[in-house]
């Protein structure tokens, strides 16, 4: 086989004129192939403007594309956001944290023309950037550190993948490399730890284990399904998973296409690569052996016990299992095992017992010319073959999909509003030329994120204010702000709320990386776990104040505080957080233990740093919580309250305000 498929395959342009395939159902009609996202990217012309004021506003091509569409709809952009708003917006956007009062003062007093660029560069270079943008990626790939399902077994070394993602963002790794390492790191290098950790990506899905007669074939089929579907939704932005049971109802993806993609994973097997040397392993075995013997003996004995005794014995068994020495460190990874290669068949209704035609690896037919054969089923390094096709600069989906994700996180809405579905049931791009322009630039710049962020963040489009004098015109013509006539206000994500509370209270522990932390939670929640002993609270209380990305991502126990603010369930790919508004959120922030504890700490901080003067306390509280000074009315209300009421209650109120929970 040639180095990559593109040297022998052509995308749409060639395909449109290709001969009809003789294989029934494998022909893609011109109409099917015409769908916008399957077409090669265009080289759109950057709109030009006649008036000086328009030219002045269009600071970079993004602005030109945005302004052209706004003007077509008889809309105009909002004025520029003020500096205090901008630094808060940028700091949350790039780091997930609020700016400190010192950072705000420094920015406000920097009157140089390069102040914004300097701020953006500083934030992009901070280690917190990777923690914020890594979380977006972890959402997308439904990262979790447990299996899910009943046992929800902990994956003790999955945190290494989380750190790998954070590191990759901080190092501004090329997206092409990033994907290669995740899909095929083990095929690239068996001995490079980073590669082995990255390819743990293929194991991130939930994993069913059950007692008794194991359904080995069913379980393998589920693993293959997980590996396949995530490629569709997270990397290609198509609902590939729909074609598992039948030809896709809306998009030109045949059921056969689905299983051909699955065939790239036929040899992939989970592997925990030991990090410990032989001596360490021997020492571990020696330590574990007596306990393991006890477990085996007890299991034998249990067969002859009556029920009352058995319940006690089960408890004893659990204790024994818990008393095994801590597992030795491993790399949570995969490898190819040709001997265990699963035969991949088209499965009628997705049922693993209902096998149809055997298939071998091949990319999606609609993106190939007709009649392209499958690769041999035993093609070496199959996942490398797949990812080479995915990251080929000519792949019409990959670059569009990822730049749209970046855009989505910056603006709250994508150019394509359905980031995981670029198919016919997805929404059409509001600015198709801009999307292609950004994707072209991204590819030309070597798939690097930081340049893309900077171009977006430096645009006047991004730096618009939320409020505009043309509000009612905008509301009537474009109530959803699809065309970006003002900046879209957003509520903080669950992690941002927790992290910001800790930061404002002066308690945030910025230590990065390492094994995940379990914080104290209500006994009732632990009790709801199938195995309550899984929840082992970290002994060092300073660990409890670490950033949320370092808290354990456990499928069967999400922190209620995070859940109530729409943290994803880690079962399936989450391209964009919901932002719901409901009473349990108010109950959590008013009565929950975290906000009350942080409010007390914030009150202490206000006394310590602003002294006894209520006026100064209110000013400082607003600077910490809202990144600005209070307005007259706010100050009046706050001071009125403080005449009779305790400072801690004022601090609690601050952590409940829109001015805290929203970024404008």
């Amino acid at each position: 086989m040639p180095r990559n498929l593109f040297s022998c395959l052509f995308f749409i342009a060639a395909a449109l004129v290709a001969a009809e395939s003789s294989i029934p159902n494998e022909h893609y009609t011109p109409a099917e192939r015409k769908h916008w996202s399957f077409h090669p990217r265009t080289q759109p012309e950057i709109p030009q403007f006649a008036t000086a004021s328009d030219r002045a506003w269009t600071k970079n091509p993004i602005d030109a594309f945005i302004l052209a569409v706004l003007q077509k709809s008889d809309l105009a952009p909002a004025p520029k956001a003020d500096s205090a708003t901008l630094i808060r917006r940028l700091t949350f956007d790039l780091t997930g944290l609020p700016p400190t009062p010192a950072e705000i003062s420094a920015f406000l007093s920097d009157k140089s023309s390069g102040a914004n660029a300097k701020l953006i560069d500083r934030l992009l270079a901070s280690p917190q950037y990777g923690e914020k943008w890594g979380q977006h990626w972890l959402d997308l790939v439904r990262f979790s550190e447990t299996d899910g399902f009943e046992y929800d077994t902990h994956r003790h070394d999955a945190w290494r993948y989380r750190d790998y993602v954070i590191r990759s963002f901080n190092r501004d790794k090329s997206y092409a490399e990033f994907l290669k390492e995740q899909l095929a790191g083990d095929e690239i290098s068996k001995i490079d730890e980073e590669m082995r950790i990255a390819s743990g990506f293929n194991r991130l899905g939930p994993l069913r284990k059950n007692a008794g007669n194991q359904e080995v074939a069913s379980s393998r089929n589920e693993q293959l399904t997980e590996m396949t579907n995530i490629v569709g939704s997270a990397l290609l932005g198509v609902t590939l998973g729909c074609a598992r049971c039948h030809d896709h109802k809306f998009d030109p993806i045949r059921q056969k296409d689905y299983y051909r993609i699955q065939a790239y994973f036929a040899e992939a097997q989970p592997e925990d690569v030991p990090l410990a040397g032989p001596d360490e392993q021997a020492a571990w075995k020696a330590k574990a052996a007596p306990v393991e013997k006890q477990i085996a003996d007890l299991k034998k004995a249990m067969k002859h016990l009556d029920d009352a005794q058995k319940t006690a014995a089960e408890k004893q068994l659990e204790d024994l299992q818990d008393s095994l020495p801590e597992p030795l460190p491993t790399l949570f990874s995969v490898n190819d095992d040709p001997a265990k290669r699963s035969a991949i068949h088209v499965l009628a209704r997705g049922d693993y017992q209902n096998k149809g035609d055997a298939v071998a690896p091949r990319p999606l037919g609609v993106l190939l010319s007709e009649g392209i054969p499958e690769l041999p089923p035993d093609v070496p390094n199959p996942r490398k073959q797949l990812v080479d096709w995915i990251v080929d600069p000519q792949n019409p989906l990959t670059a569009r999909v990822i730049v749209n994700r970046i855009w989505t996180h910056h603006f709250g809405r994508g150019i394509v509003a359905t980031p995981n579905d670029f198919g016919r049931m997805g929404t059409k791009p509001t600015h198709p030329e801009l999307l292609d322009y950004l994707a072209n630039e991204f590819v030309a710049n070597g798939f690097h994120f930081k340049a893309l962020h900077k171009q977006i963040l430096m645009s006047n489009t991004y730096q618009q204010a939320y409020k505009t004098p043309l509000w009612s015109a905008g509301q009537s013509k474009d109530p959803n702000n699809k065309l970006l006539w003002h900046f879209q206000r957003r509520r903080l994500d669950a992690e941002e709320i927790r992290d910001a509370e800790l930061a404002i209270a002066g308690r945030l522990n910025l230590k990065g990386g390492g094994p995940s932390v379990m914080v104290p939670v209500d006994d009732e929640l632990i009790h709801l776990l199938y195995k309550p002993s899984q929840w082992q609270v970290n002994k060092n209380p300073e660990d409890h104040d670490r950033r949320s990305i370092y808290l354990i991502a456990k499928r069967n126990l999400r922190l209620p505080m995070m859940e109530v603010f729409d943290s994803p369930d880690m079962q399936t790919s989450c391209p964009r957080r919901e932002s719901s508004t409901h009473a349990p959120q108010a109950l959590e922030l008013m009565n929950g233990s975290l906000s009350n504890e942080m409010a007390r700490k914030l009150a202490e901080r206000l006394t310590k740093e602003a002294g006894r003067s209520p006026s100064k306390q209110v000013d400082l509280a607003y600077r910490l919580v809202a990144g600005r000074s209070p307005n007259e009315q706010e100050k009046l209300v706050a001071l009125g309250f403080l005449e009779k009421q305790p400072l801690a209650e004022f601090a609690l109120a601050m952590l409940n305000l829109n001015a805290f929970l929203y970024v404008e």
Binding site: A211, R244, D251, D307, E314, R424, L528, T572, H582, N591
Partner: protein
């Protein structure tokens, strides 16, 4: 696992088709914003007989053979191999040389309908003329988690919305101080399918269940922190509202919604606890449910609480019987007698009390009570005295909510292995429940990942005999 791509929606898109659940945007702000009131309970699209569902979930899989489906032939074949004419079955644990096991329970005809019920359930037997017994239920999976997912969500994998979430999505909430979809787990611990089986799946988060906790204070964060008085909190609430209003436009409906959420939260905090307070019940009622009695106290309390919630407009309540280790569920692998006598002694009286109590209060007509587990149990013995999981034929019961009483639906074969007469799948149970609530499986759908998803994967049928 099939993909569940969360729909991209901003708040405006979201409220136009979504809101009606617990703790959502409050009425006042919506009216102020000039939008439709999404909080109001929706009128069911079809005539509805039931307004609420109480699912008394017998977790772990109660035996149909020891409860509602007498099989005298089993006793005759006790210890023998299954005759070939009954066909094959796959169990989770039983592997080699399975032998049929007779039933030690005795059955008696009850009520005017004369339906046979075993002596395990003497109290429920008294309600038999109000109940329909569906003896021909079947599901696709023989392991707990997958079967539980299918029972609750219609699919064998996590990530799909449960019945309760669909109900809330379709019908909205009539209570503004109580959550409208409640799950009361068994205090002994979790089940194999865990939290996702009760969840909202890909439906918006407002349709999620509220998991009640054991004890007198079942809802989280309704209590004030220690040392803070209600009067103090009222002041703080006013401060929050005052400060928010000092920095918002009058027509800002999103922030308006947040203000209303605070009002609602405060209302819940002050009013909901009364719903949880069983001390207002008469001694006779408490006694009916077995509150204060050794075996029935916990489940009796929870069933009584379910009635109090339904009285106050809650749509869907799941009261879970069984949790933690298998033997604390109906999962009688080791000894069917010991396990089922114990589980029945905890649940029979409370479930019967619930039906009787609803009936005498005139609530049974509008409240559908569903009894059942994720599967039944094997005609063959496991380890001599136990029974393994069994999904090919088992019993579920329904009462109230317009369901005809005194009915037996379908039948299993002579050893209770397979539903052979009028078999009904979980999807048919779901369709029937939806039907009683005035909903239709095809209309109650949610566009998700380009597909109109619904509760039933394959078209279900209403069990016409009982509606």
């Amino acid at each position: 696992m099939p993909e569940h791509i969360r729909f991209t929606r901003n708040r405006r898109e979201f409220i136009t088709d979504a809101f009606c659940g617990f703790g959502t945007l409050a009425l006042a702000s919506m009216l102020r914003a000039g939008t439709v009131n999404p909080l109001a309970a929706k009128t069911p699209p079809k005539p509805a007989k039931a307004k609420a569902v109480i699912f008394v979930f017998m977790a772990g899989g109660p035996s149909h053979l020891e409860t509602f489906d007498p099989k005298p032939l089993l006793n005759k074949l006790d210890g023998q191999k299954r005759p070939a004419e009954f066909g094959e079955a796959k169990y989770q644990f039983i592997t080699s040389d399975p032998r049929l096991m007779g039933v030690k329970r005795t059955f008696k005809k009850y009520g005017q309908s004369g339906i046979e019920v075993s002596d395990l359930l003497p109290h429920m037997a008294e309600c038999i003329d109000d109940m329909s017994v569906i003896r021909s239920c079947h599901g696709d999976m023989v392991v707990h988690s997958a079967a539980q997912y299918q029972l609750f969500t219609g699919r064998i994998l996590p990530g799909f919305p449960s019945m309760g979430s669909w109900m809330l999505y379709g019908l909205g909430s009539v209570s503004d101080s109580l959550p409208s979809y409640v799950v009361m787990p068994d205090p002994h611990g979790a089940l194999e399918a865990g939290q996702p089986m009760y969840g909202n799946g890909f439906l918006p988060a407002i349709y999620q269940p509220t998991m009640f906790r054991p004890g007198a204070k079942p809802v989280m964060n309704l209590d004030l922190p220690k040392g803070v008085s209600l009067e103090q909190r009222r002041q703080t609430l006013n401060l929050i509202k005052g400060l928010d209003q000092a920095n918002m436009d009058a027509d800002d409906d999103e922030f308006g919604a947040r203000l209303s959420a605070y009002d609602l939260a405060f209302k819940m905090q002050t009013e909901a606890p009364a719903a949880f307070d069983l001390s207002k019940e008469t001694p006779e009622t408490l006694d009916l449910y077995g509150v204060g009695k050794e075996h029935t106290d916990d489940y009796g309390r929870r069933c009584l609480l379910a009635r109090r919630l339904v009285e106050r407009g809650v749509r869907f309540v799941t009261v879970v019987a069984g949790g933690g280790p298998g033997n604390l569920q109906w999962d009688a692998h080791d000894d069917i007698e010991e396990n089922h006598i114990r589980m029945a002694s905890q649940t029979d009286r409370p479930v019967a009390a619930l039906i009787k109590d609803l009936k005498r209060r005139g609530l049974l007509d509008s409240t559908l009570v569903v009894w059942g587990g994720e599967f039944g149990r094997s005609p063959e013995a496991q380890g001599g005295k136990g029974r393994d999981h069994h999904n090919l034929g088992f019993s579920m019961c329904m009462a109230g909510g317009g369901i005809k009483g005194g009915q037996v639906v379908g039948a299993t074969d002579a050893i209770g292995l397979r539903a052979v007469e009028n078999p009904y799948h979980f999807r048919d149970i779901h369709t029937t429940i939806l039907n009683q609530m005035g909903l239709d499986q095809n209309d109650l759908s949610f566009l998700h990942q380009g597909r109109k998803e619904r509760l039933t994967e394959i078209q279900g049928q209403v069990i016409q005999q009982i509606v």
